[in-house]
């Protein structure tokens, strides 16, 4: 589809772009006189984008801008997910009184993630990753005077640059092999030309380095703990969910075009374009990722750092579902992401609130919190148990569908590894609950939080409980989103 006719399928992105400009201008005029103007505008912009994106569900499948991007229900799903995530982050940063740039950067990151969700060309992938990356680097170092924050930012830049370089190298090899940059065209070339197997494998591994860095997959995860610990906590929460979700959208797109193809259009299963044992590779990487994340999380005394490792472990769980190479697996990933957003945001928000009040993120800070701040402590316990995957919480449902997908695909050893990992994770998640409720402390004085923060936590804890019991609407949404997509 040419550029002009593509415009009408690009309205949410255009709306967001205009909103970014509007926020910049408003920031210049306002000069921080009204504290709630900029966040309010940002939330309104994101809400508008979410609503506009919802209308795109009915548009079916379209290739836009000469096949640079696609619009399909899957990309719409991810767009809504990341925009919703950003709304929560904006609201949660409200007490911080961040400057205008903060909100602008969040919105631009959002735009980048929208492009990631719909990219259909190697160049577009690179560009969208960079848009997200560049603004993320600044966000990580947003507290300029905080050494840890600046350090995080710099590490993030260097690591991001290196992995993008590796990925670009991989892409160049792939381009050399096929002469195409469009994902679908590359698929056709691989199927018809049958280039040398090992070279294709090498190029795909190198490209995986770029994706792996975005979704925190071993061995490309090293930046995660440092950056997560150093960045402002709302931003850490954001990193742990939104770019990861967009990265997974890219990976799904990549797996269903460059790595695999369908026997017939609309079939539920994919086959590899060339025999490069991609499922086995991903299975091994996912086991490594979750095992490493979980075992190191066990050792952490700082809850925020523990959550960083836990988010690596969750990347491992999500990766598991790629091995089955079918729609069931992708739907499970999308379902899990929704629940993961709720519980992970909840956990990070509470850590942030506690750290703001009590000055530390160490586990000792949480001792006896169950008696000092019952609402926050009970919510935290719910998030922790949901992250472990215990019923009747949303996390259990998410994990259930992930495991169901891989068991239906006969990957039994992988399922066993996943379950063992969940058991390990119970130890450190329950450790937080134990600290809050079973450890007696000297100080008994109540810790009170702002009502606004409590309401925000409630918007996360209530769905975590409700979706643990009735999740059919979300499941139907994911099914609908995966039914028809450009990988077909």
């Amino acid at each position: 589809m040419d550029n002009v006719s593509s415009i009408k399928f690009f309205i949410p992105e255009l709306f967001l772009t205009v909103a970014v400009i509007a926020v910049i201008i408003a920031g210049l005029i306002n000069k921080n006189k009204n504290k709630f103007l900029i966040p309010g505008m940002s939330v309104a912009a994101l809400l508008g984008t979410v609503i506009l994106s919802f209308t795109q569900y009915e548009m079916g499948m379209n290739s836009l801008f000469f096949n640079m991007t696609v619009l399909d229900p899957m990309s719409v799903f991810f767009k809504i997910l990341v925009a919703a995530a950003t709304i929560w982050i904006v609201l949660f940063s409200l007490q911080q009184h961040m400057k205008v740039e903060y909100y602008i950067l969040l919105l631009i990151t959002n735009l980048g993630m929208f492009l990631m969700a719909s990219a259909n060309d190697l160049l577009m992938i690179l560009v969208s990753l960079e848009v997200v990356g560049l603004s993320s680097y600044v966000l990580a170092g947003y507290y300029k005077n905080n050494m840890k924050s600046s350090e995080a930012s710099l590490k993030y830049v260097l690591y991001g640059a290196a992995s993008t370089g590796i990925m670009a190298y991989g892409m160049s090899i792939l381009y050399g092999l096929t002469g195409e940059t469009n994902l679908a065209a590359i698929q056709q070339q691989l199927l018809t030309q049958q280039p040398y197997n090992l070279t294709v494998f090498i190029s795909i591994i190198l490209i995986f380095a770029g994706f792996g860095y975005k979704i925190a997959m071993v061995p490309f995860h090293f930046w995660v703990p440092d950056v997560y610990e150093g960045a402002p906590t709302p931003i850490t929460a954001f990193f742990s969910v939104a770019p990861k979700a967009a990265g997974l959208a890219l990976l799904i797109r990549f797996m269903t075009t460059v790595v695999g193809h369908q026997l017939a259009p609309g079939a539920a299963e994919w086959l590899q374009n060339m025999d490069i044992s991609a499922p086995l590779l991903i299975a091994i990487l996912s086991v490594l990722t979750m095992t490493l994340g979980n075992t190191i999380a066990l050792q952490q005394k700082n809850v925020k750092r523990m959550m960083a490792y836990s988010s690596i472990a969750h990347a491992g769980y999500l990766l598991m579902a790629f091995v089955v190479f079918n729609k069931e697996g992708y739907a499970a990933i999308m379902l899990y992401l929704v629940f993961y957003l709720l519980m992970n945001f909840g956990a990070f928000f509470i850590i942030h609130m506690v750290a703001q009040k009590l000055g530390s993120e160490d586990i000792e800070t949480f001792y006896g919190l169950g008696y000092r701040a019952p609402f926050a402590a009970v919510s935290m316990a719910i998030f922790m148990f949901s992250l472990t995957g215990l019923p009747p919480l949303a996390g259990f449902i998410g994990k259930f569908y992930l495991f169901a997908a891989i068991i239906n695909g006969h990957w039994y050893w992988l399922a066993v590894a996943g379950v063992l990992n969940s058991v390990i994770s119970l130890y450190y998640y329950a450790g937080v609950a134990r600290a809050m409720f079973l450890v007696k402390t000297e100080t008994k004085d109540a810790v009170s939080f702002q009502t606004f923060d409590k309401i925000l936590i409630a918007t996360l804890v209530i769905p975590t409980l409700v979706f643990g019991i009735y999740w059919t609407p979300i499941l139907e949404l994911t099914m609908r989103s995966i039914k028809l997509f450009a990988g077909n």
Binding site: M147, S150, E151, L154, K155, L158, Y159, A162, S163, I166, L198, F201, I202, I205, L206, F208, A209, Y213, V218, P219, F220, F222, W223, D226, S277, L281, L292, T295, I296, L298, Q299, A404, I424, Y470, T472, L475
Partner: protein, 681 residues
């Protein structure tokens, strides 16, 4: 319509949530929230009920469902099933529950956990109403357990008393035994039919997906749940102990609603009962009816007499359902709910008065003991009059509701016995009539000892006062509802409800078992039914009157000396007084056996399982320590090394350029290379 039913059930849930979180802070501790919720529920039920009466359609059914869990091959649909039976049941539960809520304002006044009490009442009302309207066994099972939990909480409401907390535990555990059977029955049904929904199960049974021995097994196992909840022999032991709970709770839960849930379940599953299952059910009911009424004769605690009477009357209902008299069984459930709730509330009124009198005189004695009462009828006229009406209804005297339903049950079992080839089934009506004599006898014994004769304790008697209006008004309402006319309309024949709305609307559901086999499960001709009914009516009037006369002869006119009679009855008296030693037998066998088994398991647990667990924990701990060490020693170690080397570059520079990031990137590149190398090898 369905929406209204859902609202009826959800209102108390909302009240529960409000009460549990904010109850203490609300004015009047929030009792009005719970009362408001249940009374609104009553209003809405009344609306449904009136609609049902104007519709006057025995075959009315409305269902609506949604998909709850969809795993492709496995699906659970949840929904609402409304028919005349469930609407009537909604009505019964909301009436009794509303009255008990109002009654509790006076009865529980000043209790330190007043708001908590109302919270529990609301939760109970929610679970009971939910149980009534679910269209599937899964939902029913869920609510069933929730009802059990509420019962536990309410029996043990005064948990400071050891006896109350023990009774709560006993009730919960005994119910669990029955629920275990329920669960297995549920599993059989789902395995065979693949759905929890009642309509699907009916279709499945009708098409023969579940038949023969499995069907009977499923019926009996599901009935096990009812044995527990409806306190049938041999799981009846918890109900008398449950009287440790506050009396309004006894009236609501242990007389009118929760214990009726078991009967309701059997009524709901009536369509899938095979003949063998029905005979089993009927005998359990008949035996319970006679067994419990024998015990009731010798008890001295006013609430315990009523408790055993409840067990016995529930046995009646179960017996009727088992004998195929669906309408009669359900009819008795409704009438019994009214007058038995009334009896409990009446006894509560007496206990309340006794309690106050004892408190005033600083006497420490059992306020429930009827040997300390006597002559209260002048002191508590309203309580006495209403109590008498309930007693007449329970004894099966014409012009009262109990006569109609009890007569229908006895007629039904007699007809069943006549139509079966095996004469042994005459045992059912014989048990029924025998229990009827005893019922009339022990109830009048209770009335005479409590309200008539000379006061046994003058001091207490002087201080007995009539209860306040919030107690007497519910009593009067329930007494009015025990009059025959409410059940026979539009007919006005006090001897038969055959032409009343109830018998017309509550027709037995079509048996899916019969549909599959092609012939009725219980074949009773109209002629047999009619003649048995007339015969049963005559016998039951004679039986009831003779029971009453005996009671008067012994306790009022004192024609016989009670002491001498007790001597003469000897063994039988002791058996009855000690409740046939069932508790002691359980103690010696089940409890002792469990303890031994428990010791064995705990040894196994300590010696073997813990050893394994510790071993695994040890391994995990060391692996993770190793992995953590790797991170700390190797990664961080390299980092530190490099940091040491770059120390000379100044503080700021070192902070930024620790070299960590090089290691990180190095590790990432090595990782990618290793993956490729592994592939090459």
């Amino acid at each position: 319509m369905v929406e209204i039913a859902v609202i009826i059930a959800l209102l108390p849930l909302l009240a529960f949530v409000i009460q549990i979180f904010f109850g203490k802070r609300l004015p009047r501790q929030g009792d009005w929230v719970s009362i408001g919720a249940i009374v609104s529920g009553f209003g809405l039920s009344l609306y449904l009920f009136i609609q049902m009466l104007t519709r006057y359609d025995p075959g009315f059914v409305i269902t609506e469902s949604f998909t709850w869990i969809d795993l492709g091959s496995f699906k659970i649909n949840l929904g609402i099933y409304l028919d005349n039976v469930s609407i009537t049941m909604l009505m019964v539960v909301t009436i009794v529950s509303s009255l008990v809520h109002i009654y509790s304002m006076a009865y529980m006044e000043g209790d330190p956990r007043y708001s908590r009490f109302y919270a529990y009442l609301s939760l109970f009302s929610f679970s009971m109403l939910g149980l009534i309207i679910w269209d599937n066994l899964f939902g029913i099972y869920m609510m069933w357990e929730l009802v059990g939990l509420c019962s536990y909480l309410l029996i043990g409401f005064w948990f400071e008393k050891d006896s109350a907390s023990n009774a709560a535990k006993k009730a919960f555990i005994t119910n669990r035994i029955g629920d275990f059977g329920f669960l297995f029955g549920l599993l059989i049904v789902v395995t065979a039919i693949g759905s929890f929904t009642l309509t699907d199960i009916a279709e499945g049974v009708a098409s023969g997906k579940l038949s023969g021995g499995w069907l009977t097994a499923a019926g009996i196992l599901l009935f096990c749940g009812a044995i527990g909840k409806s306190a049938q022999f041999p799981l009846h032991v918890w109900l008398p102990d449950a009287m440790e709970g506050p009396t309004p709770v006894s009236a609501l839960i242990h007389a009118a609603t929760m214990v009726a849930a078991g009967v309701y379940l059997v009524a709901r599953l009536f369509f899938m009962l095979s003949l063998d299952a029905m005979i089993f059910i009927s005998y359990i009911g008949a035996f319970t009816a006679i067994f419990a009424s024998i015990i009731a004769v010798t008890q001295n605690d006013i609430k315990r007499v009523l408790a055993y009477s409840t067990v016995s009357q529930l046995g009646y209902m179960i017996m009727a359902l088992g004998a195929g008299s669906f309408t009669a069984g359900f009819f008795h459930l409704v009438t019994h709910a009214m007058f038995k709730a009334g009896l409990f509330l009446g006894s509560g009124s007496v206990i309340h008065a006794m309690h106050h009198a004892m408190h005033k005189l600083d006497v420490h004695d059992d306020p429930n003991d009827i040997r300390l009462m006597g002559g209260f009828k002048d002191k508590m006229p309203t309580t006495y009059r209403t109590f008498l009406i309930y007693t007449l209804a329970l004894s099966g005297i014409p012009f009262f509701s109990g006569f109609l339903s009890k007569d229908a049950i006895l007629g039904g079992t007699l007809a069943f016995a006549v139509s079966q080839s095996n004469p042994i089934h005459y045992l059912l009506p014989v048990f029924g009539f025998a229990a009827a004599i005893l019922t009339a006898f022990y109830m009048f014994r209770l009335v005479i000892l409590t309200f008539h004769g000379e006061p046994q304790r003058k001091d207490l008697y002087e201080n007995i006062h009539e209860s306040p209006k919030t107690i007497t008004i519910p009593l009067s309402i329930l007494a009015v509802l025990s009059i025959f006319i409410f059940y026979t309309l539009p007919g006005i024949n006090p001897f038969s409800a055959a032409h009343g709305w109830f018998e017309h609307l509550m027709a037995a559901p079509a048996s899916a078992v019969a549909q599959f086999s092609g012939h009725p499960v219980v074949d009773i001709s109209e002629h047999t039914a009619h003649s048995s009914h007339t015969l049963a009516m005559i016998i039951s009037i004679i039986v009831a009157l003779s029971g009453i006369l005996t009671a008067f002869a012994i306790y009022y006119w004192k024609k016989m000396d009670v002491e001498a009679l007790t001597e003469k009855m000897g063994v039988l008296y002791r058996l009855s007084y000690n409740k046939f030693y069932v508790d002691e037998i359980y103690e010696a066998t089940v409890v002792r056996g469990l303890l031994m088994w428990n010791n064995l398991l705990s040894w196994f647990d300590n010696a073997i399982i813990d050893g394994l667990v510790n071993l695994t924990a040890w391994i995990t701990r060391h692996t993770s320590a190793l992995s953590g060490k790797f991170d700390n020693a190797v990664i961080d170690g390299m980092v530190n090394e490099i940091a040491d080397i770059t120390q000379g570059f100044g503080r700021q520079l070192r902070r930024v350029q620790t070299g960590q990031i090089q290691t990180y990137i190095f590790a990432a590149v090595v990782g990618a290379v290793v993956i490729i190398l592994v592939r090459l090898v």
